[in-house]
Symmetry: C2
Subunit: 252 residues, 2 copies
DNA sequence: AGTCATTTGTACGTATGTATC
DNA sequence: GGATACATACGTACAAATGAC
C-alpha cells in the first residue's frame, strides 16, 4: 500500500485474479501497520487511490474479508479491522448441517460427537482446575435448567452459559470460542430436529450429573455424564434420519 | 425465489440490508431445491430476475457466500454449490494468528495447545481402533521424517499426512477436517516463527514415539508423546515473544 | 486452428441511505 | 435541520475466461 503499483500486471508467477490481489493488499496493509481489531481502515476512496483498483473491486474484496470477520463494515461509518471471530465457521458449518439434515444427518452426528469428545478429553483438566466458586455457578445454572424443564419451558441461554463456563476453566481462548461456535451451529440446526419435551428434562438432569461428577473429582463418572448428556440429541437426529429412510424406502 | 417480490421493502421487523436479504434468499434456494455440493446454481442474470436485485447486490452476496465456501464461482463457467470446507476457518484463524505474532503470540500458543489436547483426548480411541496396517503406514511416515530431518531437509507433507491419518481412525469427518484446518493455520503462520534445525529432528523423533506408544497400547505413554511432540513449536513461539518483550522493554 | 455465445470479472457514473457534527 | 462524509445500490459498458461448434 505504501508502494502504489497502479494496475500491476503481475507478469510473474501466480496468475491470481484482481480480486485476490486486492484482498492480499488489504491484509498486508493491516499486518504492516500492525493494526488491531477495531482500528479504522482507509475509506473506499482512499483504498481506490492507494491500490489503484476500481470501487467495485475494492468493495468485493472487502465483502470477502468481512465474511471472514477480518474486516468489519459499518454503514455510514467506515471500515474497521474485524474481530476474526468464529462467525465464518458457524455460518459455513451451520449451512452444511442444514443441508445434511436433508439426507443422512451425518454432519450433525459428527458435530455432537465432537462436542462430547472435546468435553470428555478435557475432563481431567476440568476436575483439576474448577474451584468451588465456579462449581456453585454451574450448579445454579443446572438447577435452573431442571426447574425450567419441569415447567415445560425451554432453556437456551443457560445451556450455552453452562458449556462455555466449563471450557473457560481450561484457560484456552480458542477452546472456548470453538465450543461456543459448535454450540451455535447446533442451536441453529436444532429447530429442524425432533426434540421431545422429555428430552429437555433428561438433558437438564445430565447437567446436574456433570456438576456432581466434577465436585466428586471422579473422572470416569464425569466422562460418562458427558456421554449421557448428548444421548437425547443423538436420538433426535437419528429419529429424523429413520423417518426419512422409511419414506424413501416406500418411494423406491 | 419461487415468489418474486421485486424490491420488497421489508416494512416488517428485521431491518436487514439488501445484501443480507439476497444472501438469505440464495441460501434458501439451495435448501429448498435440496442441492448438493457441486450442483449448478442459476446465472447472475437469472438471479437478478428471480430476486429482483441489481447485479451488484447479487455479486456481493455471492462474494460473501463464496468466502464461506457455500458457493463456488468459476469464471466464465457459472456458480456452483460449494463444498463448505473449513477454508473460511483457516483464512480467518490464520490471519488472526499472524496478527497475534505481532504482540503476544497467544493465539498460536492456544492453537498448538488445542491440537495437543485434541490428540491427547482422542488417544484412547486411537489405541482402540488403529490396526497394524495403519500403524505400519504411520511408522513409514515417521521414519521418512526422521531421515529427511537428518539430511537437513524439511518435511511438510509427511507431517500433515501423519496427523490426519491419526485422526481418520476416529471415523469422524469433522474431527479430521478440523485437524487439517488447524494444521493449515499453523503451517501458514510457521514461516514467521523461529524454527531451529534441531527442532525438526526432535519433532520427527516425537512422531516415532507416538507410533511406538500406540503399538504398545500404552495410553499414558501416548499422551506424553503428544505433549513432547508440541514442545519444540511452543518453544519457537515463546522465543519470538521473548525477543519482542526484550526489545519493547528497551524502548520503553 | 477459429469464431461464437454464455457467463463471470472489472470499471465507471450516479443516486440514495446512513451516521456524525 | 443542514452539511458533510461515508457506505450502499443500480445500470451500463466492456474485458476475460470457458465451452461448443
Amino acid at each position: 500500500m505504501s508502494d502504489v503499483p497502479p494496475i500491476a500486471l503481475r507478469n510473474g508467477l501466480p496468475p491470481r485474479s484482481r480480486n485476490q490481489d486486492v484482498i492480499e493488499r488489504i491484509k498486508t496493509y493491516i499486518l504492516e501497520k500492525n493494526l488491531r481489531p477495531g482500528d479504522l481502515l482507509p475509506t473506499e476512496n482512499e483504498l481506490i487511490a492507494a491500490i489503484g483498483a476500481s470501487r467495485t473491486s475494492i468493495r468485493e474484496a472487502i465483502k470477502n474479508l468481512s465474511a471472514l470477520d477480518i474486516v468489519e463494515v459499518r454503514h455510514g461509518h467506515g471500515s474497521y479491522v474485524g474481530r476474526m471471530s468464529m462467525n465464518a465457521l458457524v455460518e459455513s458449518l451451520a449451512f452444511r448441517g442444514l443441508l445434511s439434515t436433508g439426507t443422512d444427518g451425518k454432519v450433525m452426528t459428527d458435530l455432537v460427537n465432537i462436542r462430547q469428545m472435546l468435553e470428555q478429553g478435557l475432563s481431567p483438566l476440568m476436575i483439576e482446575t474448577l474451584d468451588e466458586v465456579e462449581l456453585a455457578n454451574l450448579r445454579e445454572l443446572a438447577v435452573r435448567m431442571r426447574r425450567l424443564a419441569m415447567e415445560g419451558q425451554p432453556y437456551v441461554e443457560e445451556d450455552r452459559a453452562f458449556h462455555i463456563r466449563l471450557m473457560n476453566a481450561i484457560g484456552n481462548n480458542l477452546v472456548s470460542q470453538l465450543t461456543e461456535a459448535f454450540w451455535q451451529v447446533q442451536a441453529r440446526v436444532a429447530p429442524t430436529l425432533k426434540v421431545e419435551p422429555a428430552d429437555w428434562l433428561r438433558t437438564a438432569e445430565a447437567h446436574e450429573a456433570i456438576v456432581d461428577a466434577i465436585a466428586a473429582r471422579d473422572l470416569e463418572r464425569l466422562q460418562h455424564a458427558f456421554a449421557t448428556h448428548y444421548d437425547p440429541i443423538r436420538e433426535s437426529i437419528a429419529a429424523i434420519f429413520e423417518s426419512r429412510a422409511v419414506s424413501l424406502g416406500g418411494a423406491e
